[in-house]
């Protein structure tokens, strides 16, 4: 598939995501933050992790307001698959394409670890690495209830109090299901030597 890989100043998982897509047989292209693109040019789009704009003000806050996100938004509205990983998830929330917000981890420290995850919709279990300082998912209780009722929660941390996320939510999707965001990194676990292959063909 032709996949757009968004790049902001400070994004640092773009090369990893690019490689992950190439190795799975897709054709990725980098999309620079200042440029608009035609929503028909790509079949899917990934917003990689990192520290876009240094995470300044709030994680993802500045990136969400850049030109490229207008095009990503249009792509999302047309129903194409959009994946936000880590900082990408934060940006999608700030941009209003996903509900909720990612806040500072409960203990105030950056966490680098492996996370056991469960998909509440089909009980599938996987293991992916996490590396984040602002990974605590938060939404109002009304929103959280809606997410569960409407089957929008797609990944949860198995370990209680992993980072303080409400209901241990690690990943959500929009109502129509095409926009997905998650804190763990599938692009870091797709070959045996990486410690897990659950990131292989994880998304598209």
């Amino acid at each position: 598939m032709k996949v757009g890989v968004v790049q902001f100043p400070g994004t640092n998982c773009d090369r990893d995501v690019f490689q992950w897509l190439v190795d799975q047989g897709h054709s990725p292209t980098y999309l620079w933050h200042q440029d608009r693109f035609d929503r028909g040019s790509f079949e899917a789009c990934v917003i990689p992790g990192g520290f876009s704009f240094g995470d300044y003000l709030r994680s993802g806050a500045l990136a969400a307001r850049s030109s490229v996100m207008k095009s990503v938004s249009e792509m999302a509205k047309s129903g194409k698959p959009i994946l936000g990983i880590c900082n990408g998830f934060q940006i999608l929330c700030e941009a209003g394409l996903l509900p909720g917000v990612l806040m500072q981890n409960q203990k105030g420290n950056f966490i680098d670890d492996w996370a056991d995850l469960k998909n509440p919709l089909n009980n599938k279990k996987i293991r992916l690495p996490v590396a984040h300082g602002d990974g605590r998912y938060f939404a109002s209780s009304d929103t959280v209830k809606k997410l569960w009722d409407q089957n929008q929660v797609n990944w949860c941390y198995e370990r209680a109090d992993f980072n303080g996320s409400v209901d241990e939510i690690a990943g959500v999707q929009c109502l129509s299901g095409n926009v997905k965001g998650l804190m763990p990194h599938p692009e870091r676990a797709y070959q045996n030597w990486m410690g897990s292959t659950d990131g292989w063909q994880f998304w598209i």
């Binding site: 704009f53 240094g54 300044y56 003000l57 500045l62 850049s66």
Partner: protein, 78 residues
């Protein structure tokens, strides 16, 4: 209950990395902003019977609310 605010900003001569990034973003969206400094606002409510509010707030602020090497703090509400 009286609320006091401790207003913390980076020192003038110190590089404000957040301010620089926010300014760049606003400027790229063509807003007429000249400068931005990003800091913190801490809201403090003292116990009911505290008299020397000024002294107390001075002490609290020095207790580590701000980093005097790189930040300035001002107490408001006195």
């Amino acid at each position: 209950m009286k609320k006091y605010f401790v207003r913390i900003l980076p020192k003038d001569e110190v590089l404000d990395v957040q301010g620089r990034a926010v300014l760049q973003m606003l400027k790229s969206q063509k807003h007429p902003v000249a400068s931005i400094r990003v800091g913190k606002l801490i809201e403090v409510v003292l116990n009911e019977n505290v008299s020397q509010a000024q002294e107390v707030l001075k002490k609290i602020t020095a207790e580590g609310l701000y980093n005097p090497l790189v930040e300035v703090a001002e107490v408001e509400g006195l």
